[in-house]
Symmetry: C2
Subunit: 476 residues, 2 copies
């Protein structure tokens, strides 16, 4: 028992010191480690397996929408950034720059991509000739680099992994439609695969992607009430198409300029999973992306037949397409319970001599700690259903917790009180930058997303007529 307690105590108290809890959890469960260069991370196998599951789910959705994967060069000539005025202003301060190659000074410095609109725009201009070449929908999974001062594993690192989708269309309507559709894909994915409820809508001009006409976001509430931007979809209008000459011959033989969109999610999502679902015992992983969905812990494993029964059970569960592990290590069952709980495995099955004799197994849910006896017969199907229930319940629990923490505010004091108490605040906004800046200054909260379809009388900052309702929150 002493060993178990010691094990659990390795994680900081989630309510008292959430930042330390986060660091403890991501490090001790071996999701990630610090890289040797400041601000970099090593994604360890347990974390990378989550990313691979995310990729698999995303790829299926992209494919269904006719998006094809490709790969574009890492290094972009510095001059490309200057072709779109807002874009260079936004990204220039964050660039990592290669000045030497093969022992020689380069004639033009090359930037490591912070995002690839410029280089993909260049290639699209080459590939798109006629309306028949449109729409063109391309995605790439890759590493990107944004030089950051303060970093945290998964949430903000100088290098991270992501996918960036880029599409070109004949009309503005089509490109906008694609922008919204991808935001919809992201929302569905976040909710059904990660069990993370998200608020989606438009960003303010201030928070917009550098070079976009409009940026749409999905925002998720973390355990501490702060918001995490979990994915964005940008309508780029003709900004990049004009800068990079993406032109096509229309049906009528007229040369037209295309309209583009881009959209991305990153390894940040792993941080979002940790901070949405985690609790005092550690990680709590949604089954769809959990590297290990089920762990079998043998009880009185030295008794004859126990390991054999566990192996048989494992094979059966595996046969149902489930990722399952059998823990045959020398540790005590109690120690194992703690370890696999910390690692967030959605379902634990305990199997001992008495269970085997009774033809039963004990299933312990990580999300609710509920334990239930289930027949060994047809275990694969039973476990599959249980995992589906856990997945669904995790989303509903997170949604309930979030919804209880969204409040309205009429004035600046209301906003401050709310964010001080770890809440999202809906407030009327006149639409001016000054009021947005003032909220940031006085409360530390930023405009996360427009509450689509909602209306307010007056701006919570200046009292003038409200143009829209904004969800304000402190953010990662």
């Amino acid at each position: 028992m002493a060993k178990e307690t010691q094990f659990v105590e390795q994680i900081a108290d989630i309510e008292k010191d959430f930042p330390q809890w986060y660091t403890d959890v991501v490090m001790k469960t071996k999701l990630v480690d610090y890289g040797p260069v400041k601000g970099t991370m090593v994604i360890r196998p347990y974390g990378y397996a989550i990313w691979e599951n995310i990729q698999k789910e995303m790829n299926a959705r992209f494919k269904a929408r006719g998006v094809e994967n490709a790969y574009f060069p890492l290094l972009i000539p510095m001059s490309y950034f200057t072709k779109e005025a807002e874009h260079v202003e936004g990204f220039a301060p964050e660039l990592a720059v290669v000045t030497v190659g093969g022992g020689e000074e380069l004639s033009e410095p090359l930037a490591i991509r912070p995002t690839s609109e410029t280089i993909i725009g260049t290639m699209m201009a080459k590939w798109v000739q006629s309306y028949r070449d449109l729409p063109l929908k391309i995605n790439q999974w890759c590493n990107v680099m944004r030089w950051e001062k303060t970093t945290r594993p998964f949430l903000r690192t100088s290098e991270f992994l992501w996918q960036e989708g880029h599409t070109a269309h004949a009309t503005a309507e089509e490109a906008e439609e694609e922008t919204f559709a991808m935001l919809g894909v992201y929302k569905e994915f976040a909710e059904n695969c990660l069990a993370i409820p998200v608020l989606t809508g438009k960003k303010t001009e201030k928070e917009r992607f550098a070079g976009a006409v409009a940026t749409y976001t999905m925002e998720a509430m973390m355990h501490d009430g702060k918001s995490l931007q979990a994915g964005t979809s940008h309508y780029l209008g003709q900004n990049f198409a004009k800068a990079f000459d993406i032109q096509y011959q229309s049906v009528n033989g007229v040369l037209e300029t295309a309209y583009t969109s881009s959209w991305g999610v990153s390894t940040r999502l792993i941080g979002a999973i940790v901070m949405t679902h985690g609790d005092e015992r550690g990680l709590k992983l949604p089954p769809v992306v959990a590297p290990i969905q089920v762990v079998i812990v043998p009880i009185a494993s030295k008794k004859p037949g126990v390991i054999e029964a566990c192996e048989k059970l494992k094979a059966e569960i595996e046969g149902a397409g489930i990722r399952v592990t059998l823990d045959t290590s020398d540790n005590s069952p109690g120690w194992k319970f703690n370890e696999w709980e910390m690692k967030g495995v959605p379902l634990r099955i305990e199997l001992g001599p008495r269970d085997i004799e009774a033809g039963k197994m004990l299933c312990a849910r990580r999300d609710t700690f509920e334990k239930q006896e289930q027949p060994l017969e047809n275990a694969g199907e039973t476990v599959k259903e249980l995992l589906a229930t856990i997945q669904k319940d995790m989303l509903e629990t997170a949604r309930k917790r979030r919804d209880e923490r969204i409040v309205y505010a009429e004035d600046m004091k209301g906003i401050l009180d709310a964010v001080d108490n770890g809440k999202f605040v809906k407030a009327g906004w006149c639409g001016c930058r000054a009021c947005e800046d003032k909220v940031k200054e006085e409360t530390g909260a930023t405009a996360r997303v427009r509450a689509e379809g909602e209306v307010a009388e007056k701006c919570a900052v200046c009292g003038e007529k409200a143009e829209s309702v904004i969800i304000f929150a402190r953010a990662y």
Copy 2:
């Protein structure tokens, strides 16, 4: 017909100008495009889909051997390279170096990884404490950068994609065993998935990976008789473990130094596929990795019922887990035949009113041009078997072609004659660097791989006693 001819003529003659044929094929089939920075490539969807299939097949093999995927940082402090003397000598001239980050000069320049032994060694030293932590087997799929003067898409580019596996072991024997086992995995993969026969064995000291104790390679013969190094596996001994302090407490409580291995294959493999199987009509893709395995071309597609029957057939083939496309474009059947042949789709099915009436389909193999009628009933299984046959036959054809072009030589003239005629040459070698250099100088051929288990009387260069038999060839 004029159109068809024109289409085929777009590719240079494979026998008269193989380099131009290669460029034509990889560009016109949209496998790849040139990136804007010299020496870079854009891997287009048709090429990237091959890479994804390679990844899928490889990942299954890695997993079966207990190798886990992870991700390590792109940027490596320059000082890391100098920790292993041979390593820095080998890679320093090829590095791309970041000197500016976030608008500021960096205190230590950072290299874009040309390979990751140094950074992974650093992390392994942190992760490995006890013999219980060994063996540690990690792989990463990533981009790497080696500044090259002369480049060709897939074969040699400044940036390319690869996987690099890195393992640490308690003993030299275990690490060597892993090195050989992975070479075996590569060989099995190359032959069964890519239908590329390979010669495997040890590299000479001159051709060894910078920092390795021994490098093992698989070499494949391209259409023009040149060799392509298609994958390597390195036994690193304690060279990197000592340089990066990968130490562990043994069972007896003694601090020991680990032994490591590393191994990799890259997007070069796509070039190898093109140059092994391609013919005068273009690509010829092995079914296992072909993005499209079957194309259905409707004949007299405007006749009632044809498209419906094609769609039904497509659904059936898809149901058998096969990647199939139905070409409903406006082009003529002849034009379609040419296009899909150029794109290397392994099997074409023609379906017209008469076939439908007879309950048959016409199957045309890309590899042999053989056409056969098959019943529509049970089409999924029929096609599956046909694809398996094509896969097997492609390997055997390539093997036969290669084996006919491996000759023995007794002296330098024999070596020169052979390589001038596009052959691989087996020749005795005394083991000294001078003779190896002389072969290179006088014939342009390099020592590709040691012919394991073969013996010769004397060195073909100096006439002294032979230490081993070497396969010499010109190489990519």
